[in-house]
Symmetry: C2
Subunit: 695 residues, 2 copies
Amino acid sequence: MKHRMIKWFGLASVLIFAVLTAGMWHAGAEEGMWTFDNLPLKVLKEKYGFEPNQEWLDHVRLASVRFMDGGSGSFVSPNGLVMTNHHVGVGQLQKISTPEHDYVATGFYAAEQVDELKCADLEVNVLVEMEDVTARIKASVKQDMSDSEALKAREVVIAQIEKESLDKTGLRSNIVNLYHGGEYWLYRYKKYTDVRMVMAPERQAAYFGGDFDNFTYPRYDLDVTFFRVYENDKPVRSDHYLKWNTGGAADGELVFVSGNPGSTDRLYTYAQLEFQRDYNYPMVLKLLRRIISDLREYSRKGAEEERRALIQIFGLANSQKAMSGEYSGLLDEKVMEKRRREEEDFREKIASNAEWREAYANAWETIEDLVALQQEMIETQFYRRFILSRLAGLAQNIVFYVQETEKPDTERLDGYHDSQLEGMRFNLFSPAPIFPDLEEVQIASWMNLVLEELGPEDPFVKTVLNGDSPATAAARLTSETKLIDPDFRKKLVEGGVEAVNECRDPFIVLMCKLEPEIRSQIEWRKENITSKLTPAAERIAQARFAVFGKTVNPDATFTLRLSFGSVKGYPMNGTKAPHQTTLYGLFDRALSFGNQGDYALPQRFWDRKDRLDLSTPVNFVSTCDIIGGNSGSPVINADAEVVGLIFDGNIESLVGRFVYDIEKNRAVSVHTAYITEALRKLYDAGKLADEIQGL
Amino acid sequence: MKHRMIKWFGLASVLIFAVLTAGMWHAGAEEGMWTFDNLPLKVLKEKYGFEPNQEWLDHVRLASVRFMDGGSGSFVSPNGLVMTNHHVGVGQLQKISTPEHDYVATGFYAAEQVDELKCADLEVNVLVEMEDVTARIKASVKQDMSDSEALKAREVVIAQIEKESLDKTGLRSNIVNLYHGGEYWLYRYKKYTDVRMVMAPERQAAYFGGDFDNFTYPRYDLDVTFFRVYENDKPVRSDHYLKWNTGGAADGELVFVSGNPGSTDRLYTYAQLEFQRDYNYPMVLKLLRRIISDLREYSRKGAEEERRALIQIFGLANSQKAMSGEYSGLLDEKVMEKRRREEEDFREKIASNAEWREAYANAWETIEDLVALQQEMIETQFYRRFILSRLAGLAQNIVFYVQETEKPDTERLDGYHDSQLEGMRFNLFSPAPIFPDLEEVQIASWMNLVLEELGPEDPFVKTVLNGDSPATAAARLTSETKLIDPDFRKKLVEGGVEAVNECRDPFIVLMCKLEPEIRSQIEWRKENITSKLTPAAERIAQARFAVFGKTVNPDATFTLRLSFGSVKGYPMNGTKAPHQTTLYGLFDRALSFGNQGDYALPQRFWDRKDRLDLSTPVNFVSTCDIIGGNSGSPVINADAEVVGLIFDGNIESLVGRFVYDIEKNRAVSVHTAYITEALRKLYDAGKLADEIQGL
């Protein structure tokens, strides 16, 4: 599973991919992406006869790694070796590639540490401390404050807590909002930014079956990549690492997944779900269809164009497939009816108790009103901005950076607080290559859509196009900009407001013109939506605690969670899908499609086929509850040994964004046996295999 | 695909599995099970640039074989060698098996002709002549006849034509009703009853994946059996046989299927479909669940019980899976809506032309009335009889045989006309083993259901149970009967009415008591349903000809048809299914399920794995329009060479009983390359491989 993450500029969109949390739907015991402080230990003990102790939990947490690119991973040796998915690492693989050395196509292996290649802009995190700060944050809001004042007070105290923590510990410090305001936690991360590429197979092996097989099973992918984390130019000592178990997990065995699920919408109100169904999904899917089609056209121009657009197209197509599956769930009357009934039951419980009714009952109506208001504004809010362009994103961040950092920390927009600046600069000054011709296509594609939707008289359209066609405007912007050069960007930022105001770079000039509109959008949303939504969502969270206690788990927030379940096949398309696949199946699927296109295996697989034990398990499924962002998570057994590597969910799991169904929802993993078999027999990487196997 | 055929007594049920025909639903050019006299040559030529000539068609027809057990086959050598599916031949394989020689489990191969084993009661047919007799049959009905008189006249002339033809040619002569009365044809068959078993693999190889994988794809089955047809104790000379093509058909290649599809309901009126959905399917599915569960319980008693019930359970589970898929189609509002709209359009066309309106318009209302009447009676008609018991079926046929044959031919019930008696006797006197303990379970299971549904006071229930419980009654009937002995049955039939009336065998005694009720049911149905339904259906058929000409194809009637299409994968469960599978995939699926249960491969596969070319294609799919009864049909290329062997449809094809969808409806075949690879390398049957390959 790929984390469905479309990057816009630094300002995360509240409208799209918003994050919310817990239903029941053949839920069984398995549902839940649990925070490490609140595991359903009783359920675990009753169903599986296993109860992890604190030492086990700490060890697993400290061996788990978050990839800020949008994925998860784990330490698998004491020398900083981190395992994740190929599709999590592929962005970095592309950034260290060149037309001459296309590691995405050929794979990469550093037999010696000295050959390990430093990534352009990869940050990974280890969650070292968690502290419940709900009381402090709630205390910041006083009874007599207006909604806007309360929002401001919350923002200020959050920035303060983060800043204090950073100053005191030097650790990345983030406030995490769980249960949509039910709890606020301070998570402290050890942050690493010197991460080096150790080994990656060819994409054809990692992503065998391409977009067709993506989000499906049975599957045959070697979706693995190894990085090594450095500090002070030396591999870190990772005392908490997961031991390797080549035997894997047996059919029916209890397994855990430790990782960072991106977002789920299981705690949305019904009105919010309808909004997703009727506005958000149709709009985003339309955008995806358009941009993917335009990028594919660009890609057909030549081999280098294909290389440049590959990862971009992969990410977008991945989102498209995931969102199409989710959208089908929203269109499924049974799914919606189930959510409607759950909400009805919940609200009846609240209504049946006078105290609860008084405190919580009208929160749902408040949200209904806010949704109605959002519906009116969504078109202009969605289209009056840039999406997908890295250059536009950089320009916007630079313009806002120099302005915001002149203000006191508590006055700044989110994203520009002191505690956030290091990360912002890491991203702004990344040496990763930017391809202007590719940017041109993306901008033209987007602006064509915006023009169609908003019309030529819209002020945003007029400002961007300035009388030109989208194609001409995109060509002008991308051919003249110097933002491609990280040093240029650095100088601009260092020059502050003055340098930016004097800058004649077309992207910077444009962003300066757009800045008032962007600010007014942000202000409008704060004033009219967020300041009212936040307390309403908080009240629903409190209502949920009142009724269900903490037996529910929070919606995913791209923070560390533990899921559990068992290795298990499922009923599929009239028959059953097995709990695992084997190397025989890989060769079958390749030959069934004539070893062509997305089903062409790298030549080494054919050359070395006879060396392989074809009965080696390749991929397997478990009932663990995961979602995009969990990509690269280790699958571990009760002894906390790695038995697999999460890389996808089956097609039936896509509705899991809204409801979990133990009958068919499955997490798909690479089997540890395939990884070592491949390292030793296909990639001559015996040394690496020795390291992970502790030999 | 297994022909979904539950055998009751000789009297075919009109209520269940009734036969009707053609819609459009992504239909494309591929839809249609065409009679050999009316192929869509223009479509074929336009889409595929191929036009079979008369010689080609005659050759293919004369090489095609119908298995009266419920399947199809083809001559594949000049020496009477016939290829069909294992699951078509498995009933005969069981009949020649014993507890000591269980050929179903071990497979069978006669290396020399002298070792070929004669089947107990297998009849196969070759369609040698087809004659349109519509005019003569319609002429038998005079303007002033009542509905009942007209029905009688039709029955009489049909019996006459069949008798005349049999007397004149000695060929099996059957009137075939096409387009629900639109046309009547006299089909003459060369009939063979000395058919010997040549080769069958183990059922584990033929039916790999069992009921789970049945009606699904991707698939890995060696579902093949070879018989040889004898006459006068010598193999027949089969000049018209299909040449073998080991290379198979390429992805996208035009292929044909020549076989005997059992029944489709594409020409039912909407009212008839609703009746199927609301009455027929729920009732039959309930019966199937019950009997399968009881037989499985019996099966668990021991190895011999398992062997005895195996084929019975297979057939019933096959029906259950097929009908469940079909039922889902009926419950699918989109499918029903499509059929409703088609009928509406058709009726609007009829209404728009004064002549048509006068002649045809009220036929649909007539059928609606008949359906309403059937609904009232269906419960008692369905439950007041025996189902599934071979002994009860034999008893009923004997009782009716002796009575009916005393009447003039034109007065007899259908099934007992002179032209039908040879077939009836072949069945009545079959030496195939009957297992009384298995019969006991079936009768008890059925009567338990009947008792529940009709209650203890129902006259049928009272007559059968005679105060006992279903279990006691079943034990009494089956422990005391001598009907198991074919000689006893022969003597009874030869003794005529007197012998039967004096017979104290409990089944015969019971059937004599039930006879009036059975006759009255038959009479009621003729009088109230068939006599009215026949002319109404005929009028709709004429209306269809008037509007569409002969561009539609008739519903399937278990008579010879030609389908065409191309080898082609399809979108499946989020990804795509390949056009073919390979031997690698067979070993993958076996190992994925731990080589256990339905996924356990015969030991020889493991012992000889290294001899096999694992890239050999195993199964493949095509867009050819088929249904149960097509099992064993040859798949041929434009040169009329065999490239495959139909054995199933995918799960998406089950709705094909009502609507054909080229997008996902696929016929599943065994690839010729797998058959020869297996014969040579797994079964030491090189001699047989030489014969089919003409070496």
